[in-house]
Each structure stands twice: as structure tokens, then as C-alpha cells.
């Protein structure tokens, strides 16, 4: 597995898999974004982003505020189209299958590509256990053994030991950091192939942040992780690959540089990347 970021040419013939979901569900997936552009209304906010998010790796998206990281992340699991007036172009492939291709349903894609948001958002009317099972309930599948799945997901989310005696309590009764780990467990319970995380630690204290970083490393073998973060140390701690986004004045956001995290932080080729990762930037 070589780091060929950013990818410029994608040969479709090399990816003959058919994206049917069920057979390979639970296996980590690879995301290839090609020529992705995004608009809000008539405003272009993201221009020709090419990025490969390697299977079973953690890819960090960094860059100053407003450069389109969240927009890009939301394009990957078709949440961008939820915003009224939002448009996009280009292709995003999950294991070679275009998620925007004809006949692909947004709901199906979102089951394979989960998302954790900046603000912890457990469902307040559901208990902790129901929160974990929410994704399955929504897709009308019932697991073979609910209790096992709850334990497995919460353990992966790093929350099991803290809540195993209070699974019947409401999801809102947890602390902010616990809520965020519950949200991670909830996303993992549907066995996604890719997990997108948009600044998952920005509302949390250092202890909870470390717990979540630990969680990310542990799950990376089972699910491809894409994480947006403003914390340079965090990007270095958790990610294998890193992509630097930048939107210059009155310009849409672009990927300036992408590659191995050690390269981006150690010997970046672009001066702007160097300035940003060394904190000499806006």
C-alpha cells in the first residue's frame, strides 16, 4: 500500500466490485474522491478536490476555518444534499462504486459511511441501549443478539465500562465526552465501512479527547476513518495520512497538499502547508 495522494488518475477498470452493501458490509472501505466541487447556492466553496482515503487508515483533514473541510466530509456520505440549495460535482467512489451514480440511494450510502458530528447528539428520548441500536432500528434490521451488539459497540466506543450498569438511562444523562463516545458507538453499531468525524473532540476536555483518540486508533483496523481536526497535535497523534485544505481570499477551498502525516508535518513541499502546520498562518 503506497501513498499515492493526491490521486489524479483513477482507473475504473481496476475496481470491478459492485457496491451492493451486504456481502462486504463491516469490511473497511476505500474512498476515492475525484474532481469534487461544491456550491452553496451559486457560491463555489470547494474546487476539484482529488483525494484517496485509504482502507483501514486514518486520514486527517486539516486547514483553516471555512476552507470546506466539513463540506467535503458531508459530500462523502451524501449529507451535503440535505442543505437546501447545495450542489456538487465530481465523483466519490466507495470501493470503486460511485455513491452518486444512478440508482444509488443516499440512505444506503449513509449506512455504509457513518458520521460523528462536532456537537454530541445522542437521541434524548432514547436510552443508552436504544441509542446504540437506533441505526439498526432505522434500517429495520434486527441483530441476532442485541445485548452482544450493544456491548460490542460500546466497548469499541470506549464507553462500556462506564455505562454497563446504566444502559436503561436516557442518552442525555451522560457527560459531554461520554455522549460523544455514545455517538461513536451508535455509528459503529451499524458496522459502517467508513467513519467520518467532524471535529469530534472540539467540545470536549483533554481527558475525553484522549479517550476518543484511543477509540479512533482501536477502530481503525475495522473501519476507515476520516477526521477533521483543528488540533495539529491530534492530527499527528491519530492519523496516517493528512490532507491540507486551504481557501485563499475570495477563492474556493482546494487541497494544497496531501500525503503521509509524517511527510506533511515533517517535510511538506508547499510553503503554505509548512506555515500552517507550524502555526504561522491565520
Amino acid at each position: 500500500m503506497t501513498a499515492t495522494l493526491p490521486s489524479t488518475s483513477l482507473d475504473d477498470a481496476e475496481h470491478p466490485q459492485v457496491f451492493t452493501g451486504t456481502p462486504s458490509a463491516g469490511e473497511p472501505g476505500q474512498v476515492d474522491a475525484h474532481d469534487v466541487c461544491a456550491w452553496f447556492g451559486d457560491r463555489l466553496v470547494l474546487e476539484t478536490v482529488d483525494l484517496v482515503m485509504e482502507k483501514s487508515k486514518v486520514t486527517a483533514l486539516i486547514g483553516p476555518s471555512g476552507c470546506g473541510k466539513s463540506t467535503f466530509l458531508r459530500i462523502i456520505n451524501r449529507m451535503h444534499e440535505v442543505v437546501p440549495g447545495a450542489q456538487l460535482a465530481g465523483s466519490v467512489k466507495l470501493d470503486g462504486v460511485d455513491i452518486y451514480g444512478p440508482g444509488q440511494r443516499a440512505m444506503e450510502t449513509r449506512r455504509h459511511i457513518g458520521m460523528v458530528f462536532q456537537k454530541p447528539n445522542p437521541f434524548p428520548a432514547m436510552t443508552i441501549a436504544e441509542n446504540v441500536l437506533a441505526g439498526l432500528k432505522f434500517s429495520r434490521t434486527s441483530p441476532a443478539n442485541k445485548d452482544d451488539l450493544i456491548e460490542e459497540s460500546l466497548t469499541k466506543g470506549g464507553l462500556w465500562n462506564e455505562v454497563k450498569d446504566r444502559l436503561g438511562e436516557l442518552g442525555g444523562a451522560l457527560s459531554g465526552g461520554q455522549q460523544q463516545r455514545l455517538c461513536i458507538a451508535r455509528s459503529l453499531a451499524v458496522k459502517p465501512r467508513v467513519l467520518l468525524m467532524d471535529e469530534p473532540c472540539s467540545a470536549l476536555d483533554p481527558t475525553s479527547t484522549l479517550r476518543i483518540e484511543q477509540t479512533i486508533k482501536e477502530i481503525a483496523s475495522e473501519v476507515t476513518v476520516v477526521i477533521v481536526t483543528h488540533n495539529m497535535q491530534q492530527a499527528q497523534r491519530v492519523s496516517d495520512y493528512c490532507a491540507f485544505f486551504l481557501a485563499e481570499e475570495n477563492q474556493p477551498g482546494r487541497v494544497i497538499e496531501a500525503g503521509r502525516t509524517t511527510t506533511i508535518f515533517g517535510s511538506p513541499t508547499d510553503q503554505r502547508t509548512f506555515d500552517y502546520v507550524n502555526g504561522q498562518f491565520g
Binding site: P124, A134, F138, T207, G266, V277
Partner: protein, 433 residues
């Protein structure tokens, strides 16, 4: 210059190795921390306890003191004397209301003069405004209390509990002036119950669906529908009655019946419940909808399994307040239920039916004291029902605590009622209080 990639500074200042190790290190530190940072108590020399200091007694410079009370009482008394002299001795006017108004005006003017003399003019103006505002609030409370007490006073002494809830007015004999134990309002209670129940069963699903449309669907017609709903809530209730009367009763689709009354009540219930439920849905954080969609839920699932359960208490409150709103409606029943003296719960679909507001409306204008008493008793029952509904609404408007039970009332619950229950922010504020 190469940045130091192998060392990471954790935000709280703990240095730990970067990469895979950081978490392990953290775990390790967590165990050993106590001995590092917090030395055992025994080792530290205890400082000698400080001698207790006497606290100065607290003052509240802007408090409302004895002098201010004295000014108010004095102003009230002198206004009373003054107005009494002018009113009855000098001009030989009469009438309680005029006297009260003159007394109040005199009281306010004298308060201003006295305060201006004793303290200062600015303070006097301030004080007078405060007096007027407070008395307006007191007046409203007084009116409500007076209405409640008045109805109780007129109803309770003559209530015959045994018959009130068991008999109808069928056996009322005009010649017997003391036959209160022969009559009751059970026919009206049952009639009102049936009419309101069916109105709620029909109206609430429509109202909730419309609110979901307004708040969740965001289609092209939202603005129009919202305007129409708002206009509809301004419809005079008598018009709702005429509408059903002319559309369904004059055309012989229905006869005078409880069902026709229910339909008229639906017209009144729909807009009010819709607007309140819409407000309730609006405060459900959009993050929950996104979370649900991102889990692969279809839109209808999101509404059904996430949005509505989150707002459940608010919806229940909205429905209870909606019931309280229609249970006392009289005008729409005049042309629809028509009213009846006899119990006929079976005649809901095809027969004149009694209702509590109709008993009040028709009996209070009768000559027989028995009927007048009965009207007040019906008013008493109606008020009790509305009171119960409001109490229930207040209970439901309280969010649930951590253990899933509803917590005790708090002073800001009125505020909550006004906002019609906001579940999440309050739940999260629980710690910060």
C-alpha cells in the same frame, strides 16, 4: 527546521509521547497520578486556624424600607379621607366604582407628592410607575380570583353532590322550587366528554401532521399554509359553528348532534394545536435530525422516531392546552349540539346533545332558582375540568430528570410553559444550575 513530531503536548500540559504511545502513557499516568500530585494530608503542616472574623451586617441600599411603606400607607389613607370628603360630603356623588377610581388616582398623586417631598422627584416618578405596574398585575390576579371565588360561592352551597353527577334535567319540575336533588348535569358532562374526545381524536393527528409539514418538510406551500393556519386561529368561534351548521346541518348531511359539535370544535382546535406543536418541533435541535439521517434513516423515520419522541412532552402539553381551549367553547355548540335536557350518550351521531357550556348558557337565564343554581354548578364543574387540564399540562411541560421521572416544579416553569417545553437544553443545563 523540522517540527517535533514525536512529542505531543496534551492540552492540559501533560507531556506524553506521540503516536500510538500517548494513550497508553495516559492510562499509565492516571493510575500513578494520586501520589505525584496530591501528597498525603498527614505530611503537610496544618496552618493555625484563623481567628473568626466578625462579618459586617449586610445592607441593601435600594431596599424597600419602612419609610417607603409608611409613605404608601399614608398616601392611601389620606386619599381615602380626601375622596370620601369630596365624594360624599361636598358633592354628594354616589357609586362604588367612581369612588374607587378617584381613590386610586388620589393615592397615586399623593404618593408622588409625598415621595417627591421626602426623597426626590426622580425617585417619586420611579415609584409611581412601579405602583401602577404592580397594581395592574394585582388587578388581574384579583379578577381571576374573584371569578373563581364568585362561581364557587354561587355553586358550592347549593350543590347536591349525590345528584349533580348522577342525574340529568329530565325530572325537573317547574313547580318545585327546591328540587336540586332531582337534577344534575351528568348529561352535559357526558356530552362534553364525547364531543371533546372525538374532536381531539380527529383534530390532533391533523394538527400534528400539519405542524410536521410546516417544520420538517419545508415544501413550497409552507408560507401559505402557515398564513392560513394563523388566519384560521383568528376565526371567531361562532363562525366555526355557523360553518358546520350551514355546510352539514342545513344540507341534511347531519342532524343536530354531538358529532356536528365535534366537527365545529375541530375547526377551533386545529389552528391552535398546530401552531403550538410547530413551536415545539422547532426547538428540537437540528443536530438530532442530521444524526438520524446520517445513520441512514429515511425522513419519515427521522420524524417518527427522533423528532416526535424528543418533543413528546411538548406535544402532550399542546394537546392538553388545546382541550382546555375547546372544552368551554359555547358559541359553536349552539347551532350544532343544540343542547338537551336528557342524558343520551348513545345519540352522539344523530340526536341533540347537552354540553356543560350549553347548560350554563340556557339555565342561567331561567327564572327558577334551581336552574340558576344548576348553571353555576355546571360552571363550577367546567372550571374544575379546565383546572385539572392546566395542572396536567404543567406537569407534562416539565422535562424528565436523569432517572426518567419528572422532576419537581421550579420557579421558571412558567417560562417553560410559555416556551412550550424545550427538552434538550434544559436537560443539559441540569449540571450547571
Amino acid at each position: 527546521m523540522t517540527p517535533e513530531t514525536t512529542t505531543a503536548i496534551v492540552a492540559d500540559g501533560v507531556l506524553s509521547a506521540g503516536g500510538q504511545d500517548s494513550v497508553g502513557t495516559f492510562e499509565h499516568r492516571k493510575g500513578g497520578e494520586t501520589s505525584d500530585i496530591m501528597p498525603p494530608d498527614a505530611a503537610t503542616p496544618q496552618p493555625p486556624p484563623l481567628p473568626p472574623r466578625r462579618l459586617p451586617s449586610p445592607i441593601r441600599p435600594s431596599a424597600f424600607g419602612a419609610q417607603d411603606v409608611l409613605i404608601l400607607v399614608a398616601a392611601a389613607m389620606s386619599s381615602l379621607c380626601l375622596v370620601w370628603v369630596v365624594f360624599y360630603q361636598l358633592t354628594s356623588l354616589s357609586g362604588g366604582v367612581g369612588f374607587l377610581v378617584c381613590w386610586y388616582v388620589g393615592f397615586v398623586v399623593l404618593t408622588w407628592i409625598a415621595t417627591a417631598q421626602v426623597i426626590e422627584r426622580q425617585v417619586a416618578t420611579d415609584r409611581v410607575v412601579a405602583v401602577i405596574v404592580v397594581s395592574a398585575a394585582l388587578l388581574i390576579v384579583a379578577i381571576v380570583v374573584f371569578i373563581v371565588l364568585w362561581v364557587c360561592y354561587k355553586a358550592i352551597p347549593s350543590i347536591h353532590w349525590g345528584s349533580l353527577f348522577t342525574k340529568d334535567q329530565k325530572s325537573f319540575v317547574v313547580t318545585d322550587p327546591h328540587a336540586l336533588d332531582q337534577v344534575g348535569v351528568v348529561h352535559a358532562i357526558i356530552g362534553t366528554f364525547e364531543q371533546v374526545l372525538v374532536a381531539v381524536l380527529i383534530g390532533v393527528p391533523f394538527a400534528v401532521a400539519t405542524a410536521v409539514y410546516l417544520n420538517e418538510v419545508k415544501g413550497w406551500g409552507v408560507k401559505t399554509v402557515r398564513t392560513v393556519v394563523t388566519a384560521m386561529s383568528g376565526t371567531p368561534s361562532v363562525v366555526a359553528g355557523i360553518f358546520i351548521y350551514s355546510m352539514l346541518i342545513l344540507t341534511h348531511v347531519l342532524t343536530y348532534s354531538g358529532f356536528a359539535a365535534s366537527l365545529a370544535l375541530v375547526v377551533i382546535l386545529l389552528p391552535s394545536v398546530t401552531r403550538v406543536v410547530e413551536e415545539v418541533l422547532r426547538v428540537v435541535p437540528s443536530g438530532l435530525r442530521e444524526a438520524s439521517l446520517a445513520l441512514g434513516a429515511p425522513e419519515w423515520r427521522t420524524v417518527w422516531s427522533v423528532v416526535l419522541p424528543t418533543a413528546r412532552s411538548g406535544v402532550v402539553t399542546a394537546v392538553l392546552l388545546g382541550i382546555a381551549r375547546i372544552v368551554g367553547e359555547t358559541a359553536p355548540l349552539l347551532f350544532t349540539a343544540f343542547g338537551s335536557q336528557v342524558m343520551n350518550w348513545k345519540g352522539y351521531f344523530n340526536h341533540d346533545q347537552g354540553a356543560l357550556p350549553l347548560v350554563i348558557f340556557s339555565d342561567v337565564r331561567q327564572a327558577q332558582p334551581v336552574l340558576i343554581n344548576l348553571a353555576f354548578q355546571a360552571a363550577f364543574v367546567l372550571m374544575a375540568i379546565v383546572l385539572v387540564l392546566f395542572v396536567l399540562a404543567r406537569i407534562f411541560s416539565r422535562p424528565k430528570g436523569k432517572n426518567g421521572k419528572r422532576r419537581k416544579a421550579r420557579p421558571d416553569d412558567d417560562d417553560l410553559m410559555a416556551r412550550m417545553f424545550v427538552p434538550i437544553p434544559i436537560e443539559q443545563n441540569e449540571e450547571t444550575r
